[in-house]
Symmetry: C2
Subunit: 188 residues, 2 copies
Amino acid sequence: MRVSREQVAENRRRILEAAGRLFRERGFGAVTVAEVMKAAGLTHGGFYGYFGSKDELIAAALEDLVVAPVPKPVTLEAYADRYLTPEHMADCAGGCPVAALGTDAGRQSPQARAAMTEGLRLQIARLGEGAGGERNATARQAAIGSWAAMVGAMILARMSDDPALAQQVLQETRAFIGQRVGDEPGEI
Amino acid sequence: MRVSREQVAENRRRILEAAGRLFRERGFGAVTVAEVMKAAGLTHGGFYGYFGSKDELIAAALEDLVVAPVPKPVTLEAYADRYLTPEHMADCAGGCPVAALGTDAGRQSPQARAAMTEGLRLQIARLGEGAGGERNATARQAAIGSWAAMVGAMILARMSDDPALAQQVLQETRAFIGQRVGDEPGEI
DNA sequence: TGTGATACATGATGTCGATCATGTTTATGA
DNA sequence: TCATAAACATGATCGACATCATGTATCACA
């Protein structure tokens, strides 16, 4: 039952996407290789033709998630507006990988950590551009502080079993971020 | 091999403390009941005399961690000074449970989530007092936003495999918070 | 168009870990 | 002091899951 080259490429993509969603939804440990393959439309046995181990899949899925999230440059504020929403909070499987997996990612393989670190660098650079230009140390500080606040707020909100409290965490954090950076649009 | 009442109480405490440390260090899934019991100085079989299941232990350990972290009221800035340190970053097993387990806690039992929610309320109240009094909506916003930023920064820093970047995340987030919280000591 | 290698399905294997069963010791209340 | 039951150790059990082994169909290149 061999399969064409494009099929192979598409299968690999399917596996990575299924893994990315399942990991974000349930965490690395609670997802089995068989589940990922099933979600990708395959059976468990073929898995090791694509990846050497589950750890390798984790690293590849994180790398995949981390490289292409924001297509266009946006201002920090616009980004925060989209990030700190009830929709994003509800869509764990399709949302920010750090907010979904952050505390676990640091305990994974060096390759997985490297992917997350790369993502962090990219994100700081992107948000820094959106916060008032390049050579500005203040822009970098705003990018880092705001990004930390966004990630933390989403994690706290998702942790809460009280929807009103969760909602409040998102809103107040949004306001907190906008408190002093808000004036420079910094459009690129 | 029966044991005195105080011994029983102390054993329960030992189990909870061992669980709290191990969970924070490795995550819920990577810690076995047998490991917890061994760290508490007991064998695995006795576990079910104390807790009905591993899930129950998780909830109890979180509840235990969340209730008594900050003995005295402190200002928001002083709290951030202690929180955003390399020492705290290195001491995952003894540090903030949200920064260690946040993304996983939302996927645990309702009891576990309830414990974390209680902890969040307590923390907002504590930091709100330390940010300029009670009936002040701005204080609450500062507490929530700063807490989100602290948690997020610690998670990002721990995720990073580059110590310099991690250090920078902590420092810039500290400055970011200082910028928005202002100078009011708000001592209680 | 034949033929070999490849991608996959099916079906083990082996380990690990949660939970249970049983026996032994000894604190506790009468 | 004695009887009882609690607290725990030891040793199953049982399922879940990562990983491997094998067979088969078919793409791809000659």
